[in-house]
Amino acid sequence: MTREQLSITRRDFMRGAASAAVAAAVGLPLQAAETEKRSRVVLIRDAGVLGADGKINAAVLGRMLDQAVAKLMGEPNALAAWKRLVKPTSYVGIKSNAWNRLPTPPELEEIIRKRVISAGVPGERVFCDDRGSKDKFAAATALINVRPARVHNWSGMGSCLKNYIILTPKPSEYHPDSCARLGEIWHLPVVKGKTRLNIQVLLTPHFYGRGPQGYDPRYLWPYKGLAVSLDPVAVDTVAAHLLKTKRIKYFGEEQPITPTSHIQVADTKYGLGVSDLNRIDLIKLGWQKDILI
């Protein structure tokens, strides 16, 4: 049973005093006054991006990113798009994710770095890291936020919203209540206003995990995709929906995972983007087989 089925409807549980937190947690639709804002997410897939041995074809991956970014920005080509995302004077931090079981592919990190340089940013003003570079990220003027999609015990899903947690003085402070306060991080000086692009890496999303390692190799899914957006909430909403849909398809029903309510809270409380799939313009490019969304 999905959480939405359990929590049923607003009428069942919200007579009398409204509970916005509950509403956000169960993903109920927002009130009409808040529904005008829309966001765009581009989802691109290519069956050839992974070989039979699971190795990444960097050339295919590069083309995927180029097409997706160009489409997202409404530009005829990727170079024109990247020139709108970063300036030659930018100091660009590529905030990656180094979790050892499913890190951001180094091929993708390098592709992003090259695209940023091609847009006119000098090479010495581009860096890529996950942990251990808080000072550099604090000094950066533009951030490219990129991480693989996977379940996560603290937050339900390793989200773009969560990817900045390591830049805070005490990450564990953001863990309670299924990481409900992650959106707050995006208002901190180290991050605020700097993110130029959010990328959920969907090459092999890890849609369910078990054990102390939080990892079960059976649940790596060769989806062969990337999802990009200017809106971290929207791209995370799409990725969370995909992982949930995959779990339901695989297991026949939703599985126990920590609620991904932080994504809705990032919308409703912190104003960081759109968490309602009905208000996300999802553009699907490339390979459509078993796309599940």
Partner: protein, 328 residues
């Protein structure tokens, strides 16, 4: 002499304080003692880790919370390597009690017993088992016939080193057996466990905390899978308050704690003594009431003192306290 006496008293006091802070493990075993250094050619990489409640985050940040929600004491991690073969990671957890070792094992249980320890399961290079107060996870980076053999051998070796078996939670005996899905029982204490397994609210509507014992079970009633939550509280008043809290927050328009949701399924909640039982997703009102009723009847029956008939040589019978046990 007076100084010498004071010194001795001081030393004894320091020792007593140290014992209170860090009591020795029952049976004298630490998690480190359980794990061999070598198995079928896989050898320790020499970078063992030993973690406690304060340091577990450093090792398994994202999943530490799951273990900390139980009486977790200590974790020992050892990575095994063999040239040309995938690595194998062993994580051995001292969960403080057999009930909590059982609990963490059930938390992610998927399949049937593979006969190691007191319960175990295996799939795709991943073995999980519990015995006594210990829970053990053994994960191969990749499943091959060789790693499968090594993983199972490690599991058996570790289980054999655990000296004592332990009891499952007593309240398992209260679950009605008919239609119970046995691999789908979860045991935990806090709201975080319920949130993970079966999220019902961002508020702690059932007042769960470290002092509550929670069973989450599923029953197959026709095509429907019905959830039962059974909570044991420290006191009757706590149980009554929790029931009130749940009903007010979740089903305020219920009749006698029973309510039909818009999607057509039924929720029922009731308390008895120190217990609260809640049923979700029942297809009919009758089935919801029946499951709640039989659960709380089972609690009352098993908790009632038993009268033992007169033995020869005595003038009257005796009353024995209840001693429910979970049939294996």
């Amino acid at each position: 002499m007076e100084v010498d006496l004071r010194l001795r008293i001081g030393i004894v006091m320091i020792a007593l304080i140290a014992l209170a802070i860090n009591p020795p493990a029952r049976g004298g075993q630490s998690a480190r003692d359980l794990v061999p250094k070598e198995m079928l050619g896989w050898k320790s990489d020499g970078k063992d880790g030993l973690y406690d409640r304060k340091t577990l985050f450093q090792y398994i940040d994202g999943t530490a919370e799951v273990y900390l929600a139980y009486d977790f004491r200590q974790e020992f991690a050892r990575k095994f390597v063999k040239p040309g073969q995938p690595a194998i990671i062993v994580d051995a957890f001292d969960m403080g009690s057999s009930e909590d070792a059982y609990g963490i094992f059930t938390f992610e249980r998927e399949s049937g017993n593979v006969g190691i320890g007191q319960d175990s399961e295996y799939a795709a290079g991943f073995l999980r088992l519990w015995k006594g107060r210990y829970f053990v996870s053994i994960l191969a980076d990749k499943e091959t016939p060789s790693t499968r053999k090594a993983v199972m051998a490690l599991g058996k070796a570790i289980a054999s080193r655990i000296k004592a078996t332990g009891a499952r939670p007593k309240m398992l005996a209260y679950l009605p057996r008919e239609n119970l899905i046995h691999n789908d029982i979860r045991f935990f204490h806090r709201k975080s466990g319920l949130d993970y397994q079966f999220y019902i609210s961002d508020q702690n509507v059932l007042d769960l905390d470290a002092d509550t014992d929670v069973l989450l079970a599923r029953y197959k009633l026709g095509d429907a899978k019905v959830r039962l939550i059974l909570v044991q509280y420290p006191a009757e008043e706590s149980a009554r308050n929790a029931l009130d809290s749940f009903v007010k927050a979740m089903i305020p328009d219920s009749r006698d704690g029973v309510y039909r949701l818009e999607k057509g399924t039924w929720v029922a909640a009731k308390s008895s003594g120190r217990f609260v039982a809640v049923v979700f997703d029942s297809p009919t009102e009758e089935q919801a009431r029946s499951l709640i009723g039989s659960t709380l009847e089972s609690v009352a029956k098993l908790l009632a003192p038993r009268y033992v008939p007169m033995k020869s040589g005595t003038t009257r019978g005796q009353t024995e306290p209840a001693n429910p046990s979970y049939p294996e």
